[in-house]
């Protein structure tokens, strides 16, 4: 209990109903001192051990892939037939592949593209999806009906086919791949945001702002977007994971990035024969990296969702 006098808390207003005997508790009751919503969510997130592990893995991979090549110089552009399929050793920590590229260096390079594509695609999908969903949810009526049916139709087309077709037509660079994936994965976030906006716009605090005379712009900027943000943030992590997986599928199927850009999917695809030859270093390290990054994204996403939910559930 706080050590404030009843006088401070009531603010000089005599409490009316109770007999004129002061009680220890103030008229309006004490205010519980809790942390802010975001801080509470952070605390909840950090108390989730798996989430911290996931976050650790992600940070490790970002640092390793982007800073690692500065310390571990490798040649990833010119093939070297002299050292093809070399086993791990002192010069090549994880061995070399069938082109003589250093496997560890290639994993780093492939990790860069995977993370870049995952991030760009997720960002683009989120921006498009949020705007689209918010528009549908806010305007409602026929506009909402048409917009959402369009989403339903697009969702029923297998994304992989479209991406395959597009990937064969245009040169596959990091940017083009991100664009293609981003342009086709905003559907789920748009549905999420629309649902959130639909429930938010009938909430009493939005009605209250309307009654005060608030403009539509203020409603969106001050009330709707900040409150829908948690859903969007959670979804970004899942989108990153999905995009990384998708780009790996493409690479595996041979529709990946154009040589010499490295990607994990390409490496796995090329390593198919290596399993039989016993070149384990071409399969397991890169496979484990892919699984770890995707799993870490999902762990972080799950924990974020729980953290935000707890805040909404008020303690």
């Amino acid at each position: 209990m706080t050590e404030l006098g009843a006088e401070d808390l009531v603010g000089g207003v005599p409490s009316l109903g109770s007999p004129n005997v002061p009680t220890l508790a103030p008229e309006g009751g004490e205010v519980q001192v809790l942390a802010s919503g975001w801080r509470l969510a952070t605390r909840e997130f950090l108390s989730n051990r798996l989430a911290v592990v996931g976050l650790g893995i992600l940070v490790f991979f970002v640092l390793a892939c982007f800073l690692g090549p500065l310390f571990y110089h490798t040649n990833q552009t010119i093939s070297n037939p002299l050292v093809t399929d070399g086993a791990p050793g002192a010069t090549h920590l994880l061995g070399t592949d069938d082109n003589g590229f250093d496997e560890l260096g290639r994993i780093m390079a492939g990790g860069q593209t995977a993370l870049e594509i995952g991030f760009f695609a997720a960002l683009m999908a989120t921006v498009i999806g949020t705007l689209y969903g918010a528009l549908a949810g806010l305007v409602g009526g026929i506009v909402d009906g048409v917009l959402m049916r369009l989403v339903d139709i697009l969702l029923s087309i297998p994304l992989l086919f479209i991406v395959l077709v597009l990937a064969t037509r245009y040169s596959a660079t990091v940017l083009s791949q991100s664009l293609i994936i981003g342009l086709f994965s905003w559907l789920v976030p748009s549905r999420l945001v629309r649902g959130e906006v639909l429930t938010l716009r009938v909430r009493d605090f939005v009605v209250a702002a309307r009654i005060m005379g608030s403009s539509q712009r203020r409603l969106i900027v001050r009330h709707l977007i900040p409150n829908a943000l948690s859903v969007v943030i959670v979804n970004i992590t899942f989108l990153i994971a999905d995009s990384i997986l998708l780009i790996a599928y493409l690479g595996f199927l041979g529709f990946g990035l154009t040589f010499p850009t490295a990607s994990w999917g390409d490496m796995l695809g090329n390593a198919q024969q290596a399993v039989e030859s016993g070149y384990w270093w071409l399969v397991y390290p890169v496979g484990i990296c892919l699984v770890l990054v995707v799993m870490a994204c999902n762990l972080v996403g799950d924990a974020l969702r729980d953290a935000f939910d707890v805040r909404l559930r008020r303690r």
Partner: protein, 688 residues
């Protein structure tokens, strides 16, 4: 005493239940003793969070995650339940002990026909055939008064109204003829008229089946007429126990006294403030030392802070746990200054005028084109006026359109026909800047304290927002205004930097009221301002609203399903039924001399916290449910439930007729003779 250990069907001794949370342990129930005999009803009363539901759930060991019984004994006809194996306990649940929950919507399986749901426990416990179980289901559904049970057996829960669903719940509980029935807030989610029907049914069934009933509720009115004995619970402990009559007439614990004193009664003197319990119930993780009520008790001394009082008394029949017991009910003494003079409305003073307002919500079909197939007639031609400084109360069952009317007044909804005028101006026909300015004068206070404040804004920003939108004052003036209003609503200034989730329900309601006051409006619409709050907090908010009415002289419209709340706050009362205004008059006229049968039934259905009154109430005055507002009955909309209805009522819609100065009602066969000629005022004409 009710045979503690002698005749009890259910005997609970020294029961303690804890709930483990991630960081702490909540002592939800501590050392609870009680016994219920066959055919007896024990009331368990207290605020939310006092452990009454946990006590009920402990009986059948269906505690939430982390909850477990840590000590004591529960004996059902000599059988110890506390350490009974899970398999054996399953034979007891739903068979020997049955439970009725508050929320029938979520307690029934939405994908299973009700007949099968009622038959399920019979099949499980009796091992009878499918058709025998179905026969039994039919029997029980008939017993609980479900109309046409044979046709309804294959209905799904969503096809039934709330009252009928609650009857199905009761049928499921009774299907195996339990010895003990736990009714956990069985009527809290229902309208008063339905509540009266359900309570009468429970009463009747108990007598006929000889069950021991544990009635858990927060409503002193509900327990007054229905129980033999009452246990008052506070913060996990039983603080007082006695025969019902005795506890109402001569309670000894200050909490019981305050709980009863804080309920606004129908014949409440409006000039007297309600008794309140300041503050909030304590956190039970861990519970405070000494008497748990000490922090909120006006009689608390040093001793209460350190030493916990035992549950004792002069005789074994009336026990209480208090070092400084009181003697009997509280004398209401605190008078609100100037509140005695009813804010009489000068003739012709029409600050706010609603003329023939109509609002119908379209019901649409189809996914893309959304054809309109029907409409919900929420408000069908209502005309009311509010004078300056006057408070108009609107009462009615849920679905009668009172909230929609309130929203029309503040412009949150647009009327399909009719007008809203403030000081003679049609404010919502204004455009842009002028409309925004006009909105200053019409503000609203909401029902749900959780959804009415933006969870992402600090209180300071929430209160500043109306001033920012309206571009009132400099930053410093705004801050000053915020400080003043915070003082007015009795909140500490430290609250300004906090987020809404850090406040209790009552405190949030204060913030909501403060936000409505920021613009110094001429009219405030308060939609169910206290119905989401606990009894003790409710009276705090009612007192606050009453004080602000007197101090500020703001006109207001108070909307509530609770006639007692409306009567305490209002000068005039309007009674609504299915989108129509059926009676309007001064608060005394409507309560003491109702002209419309619906008003009379509404008054009769309210449980009065006085056992002598409640136990001598006659049969339930009003039967059945509210008809669908999609397709309201022809003529008088109340006729389907009215005891006085005749053929005329189905053919001609009754108009409002005067029954005294300012007292009108719309009924062909009113409870009193109308005065003067039946001259319908133009403004009230609403044949539509």
């Amino acid at each position: 005493m009710t045979g503690m250990g002698t005749t009890g069907v259910l005997e609970v001794t020294n029961l303690s239940t804890q709930i483990r949370l991630s960081r702490s342990v909540v002592e939800a129930v501590g050392n609870v003793d009680f016994a219920i005999g066959a055919g007896e009803t024990l009331g368990l009363v207290g605020e939310s969070g006092c452990g009454k539901s946990m006590t009920g759930l402990s009986l059948i060991r269906l505690l939430p995650n982390g909850g477990h019984i840590v000590g004591g004994s529960i004996k059902l006809r000599g059988l110890e339940l506390v350490d009974l194996a899970e398999d054996d306990l399953r034979a007891v649940r739903g068979n020997e002990i049955a439970i009725i929950f508050q929320d029938s919507q979520s307690s029934l399986n939405p994908t299973m026909p009700i007949g099968r749901q009622v038959a399920e426990p019979v099949r499980l416990h009796r091992g009878v055939s499918k058709s025998e179980a179905r026969e039994r289901a039919l029997e029980v559904l008939e017993l609980v008064g479900l109309p046409h049970p044979r046709e309804r057996l294959d209905d799904f829960p969503h096809q039934l109204s709330g009252g009928l669903r609650q009857r199905v719940m009761i049928a499921i509980a009774l299907a195996c003829e339990p010895k003990v029935l736990v009714a956990d807030e069985p009527t809290t989610a229902l309208d008063v008229t339905i509540q009266a029907q359900i309570l009468a049914l429970l009463d009747d069934l108990e007598e006929r089946l000889g069950m021991a009933t544990l009635l858990i509720t927060h409503d002193m009115g509900v327990v007054a007429g229905r129980t033999d004995r009452i246990n008052v619970m506070y913060a996990g402990r039983i603080v007082e126990t006695a025969k019902t009559e005795r506890i109402f007439a001569g309670m000894r614990h200050p909490y019981t006294q305050a709980l009863l004193g804080s309920i606004p009664s129908l014949d409440q003197d409006r000039s007297k403030a309600l008794y309140t319990i300041p503050g909030l119930p304590p956190d039970l993780a861990p519970p405070p030392p000494g008497c748990r009520f000490a922090a909120r008790c006006p009689r608390a001394t040093e001793q209460c802070q350190v030493e916990e009082p035992p549950l004792t008394g002069e005789d074994a029949d009336h026990l209480f746990a208090c070092w400084h017991p009181v003697d009997g009910p509280v004398e209401r003494s605190v008078t609100i200054p100037h509140a005695t003079a009813t804010n009489g409305r000068a003739e012709g003073d029409r600050l706010l005028q609603v003329n023939g307002a109509v609002r119908e919500f379209p019901v649409t079909a189809g996914v893309i084109l959304r054809r309109q197939v029907d409409s919900v007639k929420a408000v069908s031609g209502i005309s009311v006026e509010v004078g300056s400084g006057e408070t108009l109360g609107l009462v009615g069952e849920s679905g009668c359109g009172k909230t929609t009317l309130g929203k029309l007044v503040v412009g949150a909804e647009k009327p399909d026909a009719g007008t809203v005028e403030l000081a003679g101006k049609r404010v919502f026909d204004l455009r842009r800047g002028a409309l925004r300015r006009a909105r200053r004068d019409l503000q609203m206070m909401f029902q749900d304290p959780y959804s009415s404040l933006d969870p992402r804004m600090r209180v300071h920003a929430i209160l500043r927002e109306p001033l920012q939108i309206q571009r009132v004052g400099t930053r410093r003036e705004q801050d000053e205004k915020i400080t003043n209003v915070m003082r007015e609503v009795g909140l500490p200034l430290t609250a300004l930097e906090r987020y809404p989730h850090e406040f209790s329900g009552g405190q949030r309601q204060r913030i909501g009221l403060a936000r409505a006051l920021m613009l110094d409006p001429q009219v405030i619409v308060a939609d169910e301002p206290v119905s989401a709050l606990d009894v003790s907090i409710r009276s705090q908010i009612l007192n606050l609203m009453r004080r602000l009415q007197v101090e500020r002289g703001t006109a207001s419209i108070v909307i509530s399903h609770d006639l007692a709340v409306v009567r305490y706050l209002s000068d005039r009362i309007g009674v609504m039924y299915l989108g129509k205004l059926v009676e309007l008059g001064s608060s005394d006229d409507v309560y003491h001399h109702p002209a419309h049968p619906y008003t009379e039934a509404l008054i009769a259905a309210i449980p009065v916290p006085d056992p002598t009154v409640e136990k001598h109430k006659g049969a339930v005055a009003i039967r059945g449910d509210l008809p669908s507002p999609r397709n309201p009955p022809s003529g008088c909309r109340f006729r389907t439930r009215c005891p006085r209805a005749q053929e005329l009522c189905a053919q001609v819609e009754p108009l409002l007729r005067p029954f005294g100065p300012g007292h009108v009602a719309a009924c062909h066969f009113p409870l009193q003779e109308p005065v003067g000629t039946a001259e319908p005022e133009a403004a009230h004409g609403s044949a539509g």
